[in-house]
C-alpha cells in the first residue's frame, strides 16, 4: 500500500488562525477579517505558491473564544474564484439547516466560476437549532443520517442534467433536449426533492465531496460518499493506521480505495528559526491556553516542514495533508519557502553550487 505519487497539500484558513489567540499577534490583520482583501491575500498566496486545496471552515455559531464572527464560506470561495488559477476551493457547508437544493446549485456554481475547481466539505450543525427555530436539536445519529441523505440529494442533482442536454436546435426550436434532464424524485426521511436542478451539470460533473471521519457516524457517511476523507492523528504511525482503516472501510463499502484520498490534519506554525516558532506559540498559549491537540503538529521552519512532508509521503501516512496554520498571516508570509519547486516535483535534489566553498 503505497502513497499516491504526489502528496496533496491543502491549507485550512480559519479566521486569523487555528489558535484562538492568533488575532492578538501584531501581524494578524484582525481588523480586516471581514474584508475581501484579507481572504484574497491568503487564498491567492496559497494558489501562487502551489498548494492544491484551500479549505474554508464554516458554522452558523459564534466561536466561543478569540476573534468572533464568520463570513459564509461559499461566498468567500466564490469571491476568490476570479483571483485564483489552479487551487481547489473547498468551502464547508453544513446541511442540518440548509436545503440540499440550494447547496447543490451553490457548489455547482463555484465549479462554473472556477472552471472546475470546486469542492464541498459536508458538515452538520450542533446546538444551533434555536438560530433557526425550525426543528428540535438532533443527536449524532440523526444529524449524520440527514447529512447522508443530503449528499445523496446534492450529488443526484449534479447528475440531473446530462452533459450534452443543451442542444440549441434551431430547426425544432428546442434549446434543450428534455429527455436528457431528469427528475431525481428523491424521497427520504428528512427530505423529498423532485428536481431536476436549475443549474446544468457543472464542469467537473461531480464537484469533490469531502467529509471528516471524526467518529463512527461521520466515518460511515465518509466511506460511502466522500472523494476526500479527512482524518486526525497524533503521530505518523497513527496516521498511517487511520489511513489503512479508512481505505479498508471504503473497500468494504464496495468502492475503490484508490479513488479516495485520505488527508491528515497538520497543525503548523512557521518562523525563520525553530526557536522563534516555539516562542511564538508559547506567546499564543500565554494569551489563550488551549488543550493538547490530538493532531500532527509542526512548530518550526519551512525547511523542517518540508522534511516532515517528505516523511509523511514516504511512510504512507497520508495521501496528503491539510495544513492548519495556528496564525494565518505568519503562514502566508512563510509560503514562498514552502513552495514545491519544480525539482522537488521531479524528485531531483537541489544541486550544490559549483562555486561555493566546500566545507
Amino acid at each position: 500500500m503505497t502513497a499516491r505519487r504526489n502528496l496533496l497539500l491543502g491549507v485550512e484558513l480559519s479566521g486569523t488562525g487555528a489558535h484562538p489567540a492568533s488575532w492578538r499577534r501584531p501581524d494578524s490583520r484582525a481588523e480586516e477579517l471581514f474584508t475581501a482583501g484579507y481572504w484574497l491575500d491568503a487564498i491567492t498566496a496559497a494558489d501562487r505558491y502551489g498548494l492544491d486545496l484551500v479549505f474554508l471552515p464554516d458554522s452558523f455559531a459564534l466561536q466561543p473564544v478569540g476573534a468572533l464572527g464568520r463570513l459564509e464560506a461559499v461566498g468567500v470561495a466564490a469571491r476568490a474564484a476570479a483571483a485564483t488559477y489552479r487551487i481547489g476551493l473547498i468551502p464547508q457547508v453544513p446541511v442540518t439547516h440548509t436545503e440540499p437544493f440550494h447547496v447543490s446549485k451553490a457548489v455547482a456554481s463555484v465549479d462554473f466560476a472556477t472552471l472546475g475547481r470546486a469542492g464541498w466539505e459536508v458538515t452538520v450543525s450542533r446546538g444551533q437549532s434555536a438560530l433557526f427555530g425550525r426543528k428540535a436539536e438532533q443527536d449524532e445519529v440523526s444529524l449524520w443520517a440527514e447529512a447522508d441523505e443530503a449528499v445523496e440529494v446534492v450529488t443526484r442533482l449534479w447528475d440531473s442534467w446530462e452533459d450534452d442536454a443543451e442542444i440549441r436546435d434551431a430547426a425544432t426550436g428546442r434549446f434543450i433536449d428534455r429527455d436528457k434532464l431528469h427528475y431525481i424524485d428523491y424521497v427520504g426521511e428528512h427530505f423529498s426533492v423532485k428536481g431536476p436542478s436549475i443549474t446544468p451539470r457543472p464542469p467537473q460533473g461531480q464537484p469533490i465531496v469531502v467529509i471528516r471521519a471524526a467518529d463512527p457516524h461521520s466515518t460511515a457517511v465518509a466511506v460511502r460518499r466522500a472523494d476526500v476523507i479527512r482524518v486526525a492523528a497524533a503521530d505518523l504511525a497513527a496516521a498511517a493506521q487511520a489511513r489503512a482503516e479508512v481505505r479498508a472501510a471504503v473497500a468494504a463499502a464496495g468502492r475503490d480505495p484508490d479513488r479516495v484520498s485520505v488527508l491528515v490534519d497538520l497543525d503548523v506554525h512557521l518562523a525563520a528559526t525553530e526557536e522563534n516558532a516555539v516562542v511564538d506559540v508559547a506567546q499564543l498559549e500565554v494569551w489563550t491556553p488551549t488543550a493538547d491537540p490530538n493532531t500532527l503538529r509542526h512548530i518550526g521552519t519551512a525547511d523542517t516542514l518540508r522534511e516532515l512532508l517528505g516523511r509523511i509521503h514516504a511512510t504512507g501516512a497520508g495521501d496528503g495533508v491539510v495544513l492548519r496554520p495556528l496564525a494565518v498571516a505568519a503562514f502566508t508570509a512563510a509560503l514562498p519557502k514552502l513552495a514545491p519547486r519544480l525539482r522537488d516535483r521531479l524528485g531531483l535534489p537541489r544541486p550544490v553550487d559549483r562555486y561555493a566553498p566546500t566545507a
Binding site: 464568520r70 436545503e99 438560530l131 426550436g173 434549446f175 426533492v193 431536476p196
Partner: protein, 453 residues
C-alpha cells in the same frame, strides 16, 4: 419641469437575460447563459456604463408545459448569490442585486448570505425579495408548498424584520484591542418571535458596510405594494408605459407617508427593453426581426396552448387561430405567472383581432406579447427614457437585453453618452456603495454621519 429644479437623475440597472422567450438564443451572437465569462461581460459593460446595479432573477424549479419540461426557451442558471460574490471580484463599484425567495430560505442564512455579500463587495449588495410559494416549486424543498398564497407577504415581512434584527445584533464593528485582549463587545442575543419564526441567539457577522443591503420588491398586488412602501428601497415593476407608470408611481409613493417615509426613500424601476438603429426605420426593422426570433413557430403555439389549456400541436402556426374553444380552468404551464385569467374572453378577443387584421397564429402572438418599449436611434431612446423619469413615470429602468452577454454593449456605447449630454445621468461614480448610487440613506446613520439607534 421648472428650470430651477435640479434635473432628476436616471437610475439604470442591467438585468442578466433570463429564462423566458424574450432572450434570443438563435442569434449567432448569442453566447452561454451559464459560463461565468458571460456574467463578467455583462457586469463589466454595466459598470463601464456607470449603472447602479447588475440584476439576477431566480427560479427554483424548471418550467413545465403540458407536464413536460419546457424546452423552447433558455434553460439553466447558476446560483444567484454565488454569481454575485464572484462578480464582486471583477467589478469595483457596480451594485449586485440578487432575487432570492423568502419562502424557501431561513432568515438566519439569508442574513448571513447577504451580510457576506455586502462585506465582500464593500457595500454593493441588494436583495430582491420575492414571494412565490406554489406547491410546484415547493416540491424541491423540505418545507414544501405549505404556505397559503395569502400568507406570502406576511412571511416575507417577517423574514425582512427577522434579518434586520439579526443584522442589528452587533452594536458596532469589532474594536480590536490587542493589549487588553478584547476583539469586540460581545454580540447581543437576538430574539425574534413572530407567527412564522422563533429565532434566538447571537448573529455571526458584524454590521456590513450598508447596514442593511438594499431591498428590492417585485410583486404587483395591493399587498405587494404595501409591503414595498413599508420596507423596500426600490420596486422592480412591470409598469413600463408612461401613463400606467405614472399611476403606479403616484399610487406607491402615496403609500409612503404612513410609514414615515418620503418620496426619495423608494425608487420605482420598471423593466424595459430597447432596440437601437442608425435611423428610426432601421430600428423598427431590427425590432421586427427580434420579435420574430423571440416568437418562433413552436413558441407561438405554446403561448396559444397556455390560453386554450389544451394540445394544439396539430395547428399550423402560420395559419388561422383554432376554432375550438379553450378548455375551462386548465393551467398547463407551471413555474411562471399565468397570463390569461378568463381564457374564453381572451380567445374571443384574439380571434376577432386576428380576423380584423388578417394575422396568423404566430403574427398574433408576436403582436399581443409585444413589450418592446424603446425603439429608435440612440438619441431618441435617451430622450424617451429621460422623459419618463422627468415626468414621474419612474426613477429609472432595469434594462432587459435580449442577447447574452453582449446585449447592453450598444446601449452603453451610444445611449449613455446621450443621457449624460442631457444632464440626466452621472458621468462618474460619486459613491462606493449601492445606497450611495441610489441616493438612499444608510439605515443607521443620520445626516451627521452618526449611528442613530
Amino acid at each position: 419641469m421648472p428650470d430651477t429644479q435640479v434635473r432628476r437623475q436616471v437610475h439604470l440597472a442591467a438585468h442578466f437575460p433570463g429564462v423566458n422567450n424574450t432572450t434570443v438564443w438563435r442569434d449567432p451572437d448569442s453566447g452561454s447563459q451559464i459560463d461565468f465569462d458571460s456574467f463578467v461581460h455583462l457586469a463589466r459593460t454595466a459598470e463601464r456604463g456607470l449603472f447602479d446595479f447588475f440584476f439576477l432573477a431566480e427560479g427554483l424549479r424548471l418550467r413545465e408545459h403540458r407536464d413536460r419540461i419546457h424546452d423552447l426557451d433558455v434553460v439553466g442558471r447558476p446560483d444567484t448569490l454565488t454569481v454575485l460574490n464572484a462578480l464582486a471580484g471583477v467589478t469595483t463599484r457596480l451594485g449586485l442585486a440578487g432575487t432570492i425567495n423568502t419562502t424557501y430560505n431561513e432568515p438566519f442564512e439569508l442574513a448571513r448570505q447577504f451580510g457576506t455579500l455586502d462585506h465582500l463587495s464593500g457595500g454593493r449588495a441588494a436583495w430582491n425579495a420575492v414571494t412565490s410559494s406554489d406547491a410546484f416549486t415547493g416540491e424541491n424543498f423540505r418545507r414544501g408548498g405549505y404556505l397559503e398564497h395569502a400568507k406570502r407577504y406576511t412571511r416575507a415581512a417577517e423574514v425582512i424584520d427577522a434579518t434586520r434584527a439579526l443584522w442589528d445584533g452587533w452594536s458596532a464593528p469589532p474594536i480590536v484591542d490587542r493589549d487588553r485582549g478584547i476583539f469586540t463587545a460581545a454580540p447581543a442575543t437576538v430574539r425574534f418571535h413572530s407567527d412564522q419564526f422563533d429565532i434566538e441567539g447571537p448573529f455571526v457577522l458584524p454590521p456590513s458596510p450598508q447596514g442593511y443591503p438594499v431591498l428590492l420588491q417585485a410583486g404587483d398586488s395591493a399587498e405587494g405594494r404595501e409591503f414595498a412602501a413599508a420596507k423596500a428601497d426600490a420596486i422592480f415593476s412591470m409598469h413600463g408605459e408612461l401613463e400606467d407608470g405614472q399611476q403606479f408611481y403616484r399610487d406607491v409613493k402615496g403609500r409612503l407617508a404612513k410609514y414615515g417615509r418620503s418620496r426619495d426613500d423608494l425608487l420605482i424601476l420598471p423593466a424595459a427593453t430597447y432596440v437601437l438603429g442608425d435611423t428610426p426605420a432601421d430600428a423598427q426593422e431590427r425590432a421586427r426581426h427580434i420579435r420574430r426570433q423571440q416568437v418562433g413557430p413552436q413558441t407561438a403555439l405554446a403561448f396559444l396552448e397556455q390560453v386554450w389549456g389544451r394540445d394544439l400541436s396539430g395547428y399550423d402556426p402560420d395559419g388561422p387561430l383554432p376554432d375550438v374553444d379553450p378548455a375551462d380552468n386548465v393551467n398547463i404551464t407551471r413555474g411562471r405567472v399565468r397570463h390569461a385569467k378568463d381564457p374564453r374572453a381572451v380567445a374571443d378577443a384574439w380571434r376577432s383581432r386576428a380576423e380584423a387584421e388578417g394575422l396568423s397564429i404566430r403574427e398574433l402572438i408576436i403582436a399581443v406579447t409585444a413589450r418592446q418599449q424603446f425603439v429608435g436611434t440612440p438619441a431618441e431612446v435617451a430622450a424617451e427614457i429621460d422623459r419618463y423619469v422627468q415626468h414621474d413615470a419612474c426613477d429609472g429602468f432595469v434594462l432587459v437585453p435580449h442577447l447574452t452577454p453582449g446585449g447592453l454593449d450598444d446601449f452603453v456605447e451610444k445611449v449613455v453618452p446621450e443621457l449624460q449630454d442631457r444632464g440626466s445621468f452621472r458621468t462618474e461614480y460619486t459613491g462606493t456603495t449601492l445606497r450611495e448610487h441610489l441616493g438612499l440613506r444608510h439605515p443607521h446613520r443620520t445626516s451627521e454621519g452618526v449611528r442613530a439607534s
